[in-house]
Symmetry: C2
Subunit: 120 residues, 2 copies
Amino acid sequence: MAQKGSYRLSIRIYLPSGLRLGPGKIALLEAVEEAGSISGAARLIDMSYKRAWDLIEELNTSLKEPAIFTMQGGSHGGGSKLTRSGKLLVEYYRKFEQETYDSGKSSLRAISRLMLDDNS
Amino acid sequence: MAQKGSYRLSIRIYLPSGLRLGPGKIALLEAVEEAGSISGAARLIDMSYKRAWDLIEELNTSLKEPAIFTMQGGSHGGGSKLTRSGKLLVEYYRKFEQETYDSGKSSLRAISRLMLDDNS
């Protein structure tokens, strides 16, 4: 969930497949990229490992290419990374969010002005 | 929640007061305007009367002017209507939603194209 000025937005996209794409899944993908593993990502964003797996499974089965791939063995053992598809998904979602802030600036300000705690 | 093309959006705005403004509260306000009462509105959108009251109470205490006023007595008995503030809140939220669709069209299309069920 991004923050700009005095409000934050949470945007959820409902795809025709039934997939809901919102701040939770996107934060999880970003955390996988940062932590280098699903378990590390889950810890990073304080999500249960099971829930993280479930969300990633849901994403992977909705996308043409999985969002995450898990490396087998090697000197560092398992570990997971975002695929190109996963990276693009994060990039497009964050871009969409930014566009929403930019295009909606004056409407958001108008909403704020109706509020008791408005200090604009 | 609005629908355009093959996806729908749900946008929630978090105001500094802690008020969350999303599709549920906005649909409730629109239903009050349509039904002319809070109980009628709750029926219309299949919400419990208690929940409808709680949401309206939350809105009314966050706004400079309440979103809804309830008429006392008269030939039609009680009944509720949106105040100017309530009408503006709905208008600005819907405008914001429309701006989000318009500005985010190409990002949303890009997200759709990553999906298995993409038919664009």
